[in-house]
Symmetry: C2
Subunit: 276 residues, 2 copies
């Protein structure tokens, strides 16, 4: 796509495929910074402020952003909510309490899906957040298409604005990634499960070692005990390396020499505690 060849005076063409976050009259610079930090963690960068009470830029916002400078340096300030959402085709108003306005109410997961559909279709969209203490006025809510609220415990509903932004941004990112596991910054280090023949060799080695010390008594119980032990080893989902380690553990516990082995220099070793 020839994105870079198109005129983009604001440098924001790449942001049109993600929702804008609009904060109405935020009272504290640090909350703006914390919201910016929350956004950056989940890949959102279009932050707009309506009449920030402490002015803009604000040093505490920068400090609280904890390095989210791509967000902080591109903040745009507006003198009305209407101006801040002027270029958007759809907005959610985030509220913690029920309003008298007859609007659909959705949660952050449904909202993320809707935002994705809109943005994929080429529309710009955003999510509006209110003041720290009193949220959005009914007048401001009336400018939004729908209401977004969070599934908090009704007995303790007290999220601050940056926490609410964090949840919305998180759901946006989760929804963007089809598969949660694939979206994580690193993958499981557990390794592939060992080939079953290696696991069976471990079974045989361990059961042989236990037979040698008369572990299975009375002998009628042997089949049941063997099954229990094998089940535990199965549940562990052992990798090839882990099977090797366990076989070494068993050999070591047996305190028996490994089978004699010829070393490269031609000598024979029966070193304890290793199993070949």
């Amino acid at each position: 796509m020839p994105r870079k060849l198109m005129p983009d005076p604001e440098g924001l063409a790449h942001e049109t495929r993600q929702p804008a976050i609009i904060l109405c009259e935020p009272q504290l610079g640090e909350n703006v910074g914390a919201a910016a930090r929350a956004m950056a963690n989940f890949g959102l960068h279009d932050l707009r402020l309506v009449n920030p009470l402490q002015g803009w830029p604000h040093p505490k916002a920068r400090a609280a952003a904890s390095g989210a400078l791509r967000v902080i340096d591109n903040v745009r300030v507006f003198d009305s909510l209407a101006a801040a959402i002027g270029d958007l085709a759809f907005t959610y108003a985030t509220t913690a309490r029920q309003r008298e306005v007859p609007k659909p109410v959705v949660g952050p997961r449904a909202a993320a899906g809707r935002l994705r559909s809109l943005l994929t279709a080429g529309s710009r969209a955003g999510v509006i957040f209110g003041r720290e203490r009193i949220g959005l006025t009914n007048d401001e809510v009336s400018l939004a298409d729908e209401i977004l609220t969070l599934p908090v415990d009704p007995q303790f509903a007290s999220l601050n604005v940056a926490q609410a932004v964090l949840i919305v941004a998180y759901e946006w990112r989760i929804g963007e990634l089809a598969d949660e596991a694939a979206s994580l910054p690193f993958a499981s280090g557990a390794g592939e499960p060992a080939p079953r023949e290696e696991l069976v060799r471990l079974f045989e080695q361990l059961e042989g070692a236990l037979d040698a010390v008369n572990f299975f008594r009375p002998l009628e119980k042997r089949p049941h005990l063997v099954q229990s032990i094998r089940a535990m080893l199965h549940k562990a989902g052992l990798s090839e390396q882990e099977v090797r380690t366990l076989r070494g553990v068993v050999a070591a516990l047996e305190r028996r020499p490994t089978r004699p082995r010829r070393l490269p220099d031609g000598s024979i070793t029966t070193e304890r505690g290793k199993f070949e």
Copy 2:
């Protein structure tokens, strides 16, 4: 269930069906408070601290908890991670970077599902979080069954411990509620859609009003224009009250008296701007 009849010296029987949150050597009291606040919003109450660096209790923790006293007042402090997780049957270690330990790595959504299965089956489980700057040591990670990490943007991964707790607690609560819409603290205020006959009366009133001012010109275009207008009104999903309001709006814009109407006192009114 006879829960209340069973001895419960710690008053924590009701907490066994939810995961414990364990913070390892948190450096700042306010972060403990912010984590407690995050937990309470999503219905978690079992917070355990391993060697909090500023001691416990801590006034800044209480202030930052913003009223989450059920969590703060029940915090338990331990002198080792092993002691803090001693009664649990399964734990996740939360890490932001890959570790050398061969453990499964999951995201918060999968973890919430696994925790739910375990707790439903009667096992206790928990999620371990590390220090603000350096997270968990490899030794601490080795005490956990699996690794939990968050799907952050690899280009800006900088969540603080309270933000990480917030996401985990949110996913726990979302997973607990089968249906996101049902889990929200209030429902849509949009009202039932109006009966279609009322919507049709609105169509007829509006189209009649437009006919009266020769809006539909040339007349061949009338059917298409009528369809467009009706489609817009359909999309709005109007409630009965909204239809009544719109009919009043149309009547008012027509600047015509409503149909004469007999009032209870027997007089006749032709009041403007209302439509009966």
